[in-house]
Symmetry: C2
Subunit: 329 residues, 2 copies
């Protein structure tokens, strides 16, 4: 709470030093994000900061964002190929002096992997890695007052499991992982691929692990776990979906699974040879099978994003007929 009020108290101070907004510079704003404040323009800066070149000083050319941050893409600069690490450090030092004088609150530095020798020089001036992927890294340095308010990079990995239930006989598809210290029955599942929708991950993972084709029906459960050893110490969100089988023949991946069977849902709900989450969801499924899945399901619909014009998937309890848009599952 202290940080909260502190953050909010800081802002008036910061706003004083922000450049006067220029309509042309403002990027499309992301909804529902406190962290819009001081968001990098690395994804599309729209106005150019012209540095004084003369006066015996060269500085890096950056781009200013609406929040008073500067973004520098080393790949877009004409740095002398033979510039020494020391030479770059001087250039960066003079640039930081200028940006501070201009009241900039943050610097984003995008570095191609082949130019990574400049990263150490940047680190000497306080830059740290914001994130890196593939062939480039992004460093950041907070110049504003108080704690950094720069938005963080992705914090969660997302895994999805599919509980494939054959309603005709009350059997559910379960696997036992290989090389586990405890061979417990669980629903097939795994990590989402980048950009993959929750239901699609469930379909893919069920097929990969068991050979069974299935169809997404609903979202049943969400699990959040932090400091996850399987997520490089980051957080993990695991979603369990109710699936309808489209085929029944099991051909499980012997590299991933020790066993794979259709077992009675009632047995799975009773047995101790399973994980707590599997046991819980099996009881939930049993309740749905006996009293109707409308009691346990979260339905999925596709809705338009306000600003980006893209679409997103929204999961929630079904609304009574006529009180909801047509489902889009």
């Amino acid at each position: 709470m202290i940080m909260a009020s502190l953050n909010c108290k800081l802002l008036p101070v910061l706003r004083k030093i922000l450049p006067k907004p220029n309509a042309g510079c403002w990027r499309a704003v992301v909804p529902n994000r406190r962290t819009d404040l001081f968001f990098s323009t690395g994804l599309g800066a729209q106005c150019q900061l012209h540095n004084e070149q003369g006066a015996n000083r060269n500085t890096l050319t950056g781009k200013v964002d609406r929040f008073g941050g500067v973004t520098v893409h080393l790949s877009e600069l004409d740095l002398p190929p033979d510039i020494s690490d020391g030479g770059f450090e001087l250039l960066l030092r003079d640039s930081l002096t200028q940006w501070r004088a201009e009241g900039r609150v943050a610097v984003w530095l995008h570095v191609p992997i082949a130019q990574s020798r400049f990263v150490a020089a940047a680190a000497a001036h306080g830059f740290t890695f914001h994130h890196a992927r593939g062939d480039r890294s992004t460093l950041s340095l907070w110049l504003g007052e108080g704690e950094s308010r720069l938005p963080l990079y992705a914090t969660h990995q997302v895994g999805v499991a599919g509980a494939v239930l054959d309603e005709t006989n009350g059997k559910v598809l379960v696997v036992q992982d290989k090389n586990k210290t405890k061979n417990a029955w669980k629903f097939p599942g795994g990590l989402s691929d980048p950009g993959e929708n929750i239901g699609d991950t469930a379909v893919r993972e069920v097929l990969e692990e068991t050979g069974v084709r299935s169809e997404f029906q609903s979202l049943l459960s969400v699990r959040q776990q932090h400091n996850h050893p399987g997520a490089f110490g980051m957080s993990d969100l695991y979603l369990i979906c109710r699936m309808r089988p489209l085929s029944f023949h099991i051909e499980f991946c012997t590299q991933e699974c020790l066993r794979c069977e259709w077992i009675d849902l009632e047995e799975l709900a009773r047995t101790g040879h399973t994980t707590p989450i599997t046991s819980r969801v099996s009881r939930l499924l049993l309740h749905g099978l006996m009293h109707g899945f409308q009691h346990i399901d979260l339905g999925m619909e596709v809705l338009p994003a306000v600003y980006s014009g893209m679409f997103y998937q929204l999961y929630h309890r079904p609304l009574p007929m006529g009180d909801s848009t047509s489902p889009n599952v």
Copy 2:
């Protein structure tokens, strides 16, 4: 599907070149993860690879994981301080030759930010950034057959909104963001801090934006959005929680919000001056207010993780009394 079966077909080939498992080397395994296969031991390698030092070749000392990958921490090596970039590249080249000869399937290279000059040399041998944060980067190179099967880093940011409903008068707490192209009513919310639980984010964000203290009641909705402009192009999971107000006086953050009001839930469910997701959730809340929140809620419980011994939060529809562990909200 093709990739799926391809992946599974590849594994027998890969297994042939995996070192014979040594019980001492096997790390605690993460449940429900296809990507256990070829998981980095960067978080805790447990056996040492002894390289031949003689024969006129020096190689980097790495640690082998159960999947046949090698992990090298540059910070743990006694590299000559004056080693040239070319000298390191030769060292890495010889190391790669040896690791390939030994049938290693992947290499993880952990590089302190101050030693980033070695990153370019590694890139020349095909290494790319797996991730980077703060003062170190982690590079990876796939040596096995077929496509890389190394697990990815976090892919999602997580945001949480709190729908604070005063059941005594049917009013709900809404805000309008500053500097939005469309000033639509929405529920206060923002990004989760690292390691922060969903309900805690809702409480914090509601307090920061509106000054109102509130208490987590249930999870109402989950939204997944990809290529999110506010997530550096990564994916976004946004969760909306039902909250109970603990205070009612509004003191909203004028830096983040244009307006903040308690408005009639019925009005919010009707108005066009809101976002699609807010409108949908307001109708959901209205249904709950009229017919009982048990129709719309996902309750939260804390359950133990099987392998790590840690605990996680599990959200799902409530089970009938006696068929569920005691809630732990």
